[in-house]
């Protein structure tokens, strides 16, 4: 199993219900092929594209991180290629190194038993607070 990160752009002409359905479908495709979704990030939302794709200047960005066997990205890309509501996609293998954006949540195995969404946020805060306090003493 490798960790991957996928980003894809959905046509903004698609209404919300259909968009949700498409995101759901992509997630289901990952799970169905032995993948394990870690996070679906829609906070990017609607963005201006840096250049027009099929005469469209806006797109809806979705970022997905998942664990999957090595054969899955190929299958995933094949399906995204077919779907005409997906303007672009990019699947990248994650590197567990200090990133320029933010430290990636590298969680120990124990943390995965907890509810997936809540755990990283709550864990991150106390650790950061604890560290400076110890230094002060």
């Amino acid at each position: 199993m490798n960790r991957y990160e996928m980003i894809y752009i959905i046509d903004t002409g698609l209404e919300e219900a259909a968009r949700k359905e498409l995101i759901e479908k992509v997630s289901a495709l990952i799970s169905a092929n032995g993948g394990e979704i870690e996070k679906v990030d829609e906070t990017w939302g609607k963005r201006r594209l840096a250049y027009a794709i099929d005469y469209k200047t806006e797109g809806w960005y979705v970022l997905v991180t998942f664990k999957a066997p090595a054969e899955l990205p190929r299958e995933l890309e094949r399906n995204l290629q077919i779907n005409e509501n997906v303007l672009r996609y990019l699947v990248v293998k994650l590197v567990e190194k200090r990133s320029s954006v933010k430290p990636r949540p590298v969680r120990p195995v124990a943390a995965e038993e907890a509810p997936a969404e809540e755990a990283p946020v709550e864990e991150a805060a106390p650790v950061e607070e604890a560290a400076p306090a110890q230094d002060a003493e």
Partner: protein, 85 residues
């Protein structure tokens, strides 16, 4: 490339010695340059969207390689332009 980097070189007569640039990513201790970090990446392209050469950005070879990879990924998903205007 090496001209504006070498420090032991004798100073050219009448010329100003260019200040040695340091790699911005080494300074920030970044090990992986993320293609999503477009504000940072944008600083290493010119206004036409071309990637700045190492002699201008001052990056080390390792980070310049990572940087060009990141910029090319960002271009592929329309976060950064291939060309502007």
């Amino acid at each position: 490339m090496s001209e504006d980097r070498g420090e032991r070189r004798p100073r050219p007569r009448g010329g100003r010695r260019p200040r040695r640039k340091v790699c911005a990513f080494c300074v920030d201790k970044i090990e992986y340059i993320d293609y999503k970090d477009i504000n940072r990446l944008r600083r290493f392209t010119n206004e036409r969207g071309k990637i700045l050469p190492r002699r201008m950005s001052g990056n080390c070879a390792k980070h310049q390689r990572q940087l060009s990879e990141a910029i090319k990924r960002a271009r592929a998903i329309a976060l950064m332009p291939y060309t502007a205007d």
